[in-house]
Assembly symmetry: C2
Homo-oligomer: 332 residues x 2
């Protein structure tokens, strides 16, 4: 069983003397990102008998691999551990012949033909590329957050809200995601406290109205979380009022963090069209602005962040890339 | 374990004396169609604590339930029997509280508030509706087709092509799907014979060129399949030339049928916008032309016909319906 943890420093494709190798072969498809979207694309590519490379990136398995229990991925009625689900997709991609390299892409050039993708140690060439690098929730970076992440600290109420029946939750943030997910939590939790560093919400009006009208919702204004408290489980957060400087403790069984997302598109900003938030722009068939380059999963949509949605777009991207190859047989 | 077969005549909600009952309750979400898209929507709805009804329709589990082995649904590296996969999604939807009724919708009225959906024996009311009735491949209706369906007769080369390494396959049809999937099959099969009732293809030019250039592809023009032959397994097809009237046998290990699709939209044509082929028109967020009515899966896209794609759109539809309910709290 693979260890689905951060593998940032583990570059399996490192050359002996730090020389960048150029592989002779040209892949039919290079998939950047080893998480549900990328692995599903690789499964479809493999079953289409395409020569396929997956560069997993730093977080093997993606965000789902850090999730204790996934209950909403269809096909697992009892739920499944997130790392195990990712590992099963990995095995499945490998079974159908994908070459999976545990390394990160460090550069791409989509103006060449074939397309090129670099890692620290090699240059790969592909007739098509699928970008599936995900998007990652910004963390608070406070004591206790890492310790309880995935078991009391979450960035997805849709995924974990169900576990908070009659419990108390803290939501950190004041935008649409924070309030939308906070409202969602009120279906389960007996109290939801929104901790926001300003004295008003950024969320759209309809969400604000709903939030203020909800008897389960409370607000800690002008406040930032300084620490997530607890021994075995989360017991609360220590917050500091940014105006008065005073600190206080809010008791809670769970903390949901919505302080922004970072799409994994640093490498791509001069290569494909990104939207103003930095996500890859795709059409409904997962085509990007560059012919032969597709994108799937959270990197091209901040809206759903669900494993099955990411996997679905991975399948579409692979089918469309396969069609692209049929339609462009003469591409190098 | 549920019996995932045709349940067309089994109407579990039949009233005692044929009286149409009207349920008092109003569901938050009524899902029409009990297959991957519908069940995934139900899983998400249940986890959002919505009061959810699923009307399964005639083919419980959908097309996937008739498939012997599903190898491309991510999460099952060894593959999974299609009926079992459908059954697991069914259990999962039920586990999160969906009320699943084994009956077909016989009428809908989306001009009312709440929306109404009828079965043979009851009228159900819902604040939102998700249409997930699928699309079904037209069958040939010839001897041998039913007997071998799912084990030698297929309507999905993407799903089953992998099983035809070095074998011979017949493709029936002359449109884009037939040729696209026929070309796909040439990656595995040693010979692909396209049986088409006209003397030229309907497929777009690029597919025609690729097909004619492919050394593995042969064509039986002006021909229709009269019977699928075989004892234990498929051994060939008997075809009749529609011009000469002569019959002959083409030896083959499998038959792929592409003679059109029928979207399950008969009930909806005066209710929501359909495209010229009869599919429900949706945007990227699975909204139809009617506020509060969403669609997911094959019924709104003829292009991919993949379980994971259908499931992904089911999750999106449910999330959007949930958002609609938040934004319209006063809806009856």
């Amino acid at each position: 069983m693979l260890d689905f943890k951060l593998v940032q420093d583990q570059q399996q494709d490192l050359p002996r003397e730090g020389v960048v190798q150029e592989e002779d072969q040209v892949y039919d498809m290079i998939i950047i990102g080893g998480a549900p979207a990328g692995f599903t694309a690789a499964i479809y590519a493999g079953r289409a008998a395409l020569k396929t490379l997956v560069l997993t990136g730093p977080l093997l398995g993606g965000q789902v691999a850090t999730t204790q229990m996934v209950e909403n991925f269809p096909g697992f009625p009892e739920g499944i551990n997130g790392a195990e689900l990712a590992q099963r997709m990995h095995s499945q991609a490998e079974r159908f012949g994908a070459h999976i390299v545990t390394a990160s892409a460090t550069g791409v050039d989509f103006s060449t033909s074939p397309l090129t993708v670099q890692s620290h140690s090699a240059t790969y060439r592909g007739r098509t590329v699928i970008i599936a690098t995900g998007a990652f929730p910004r963390r608070l970076g406070v004591p206790g957050e890492a310790k309880f992440f995935g078991r009391g600290v979450s960035t997805c109420a849709t995924c974990d809200g169900f576990f908070y029946k009659d419990k108390r939750a803290v939501v950190v943030g004041g935008g649409d995601s924070a309030i939308d997910e906070g409202l969602f939590l009120t279906r389960f939790a007996r109290e939801v406290v929104v901790v926001h560093r300003r004295d008003q919400l950024r969320a759209t009006k309809v969400y604000q109205e709903r939030a203020f009208a909800n008897p389960k919702m409370r607000f800690a204004w002008d406040s930032v979380v300084e620490e997530i408290l607890g021994e075995q489980t989360v017991t609360g957060v220590r917050v500091r009022n940014v105006k008065s400087g005073e600190t206080s403790v809010i008791e809670a069984d769970g903390v949901f963090v919505y302080v922004g997302m970072i799409p994994g598109t640093k490498l791509f900003d001069s290569q494909v069209e990104l939207d103003e938030q930095g996500y890859v722009v795709t059409d409904r068939r997962q085509h990007t602005s560059v012919p032969g380059v597709f994108a799937a999963g959270d990197v091209q949509s901040p809206d759903f962040r669900q494993v099955v949605v990411a996997a679905g777009t991975g399948a579409i991207a692979a089918k469309e890339a396969e069609k692209f190859l049929v339609e462009h047989p003469d591409m190098a």
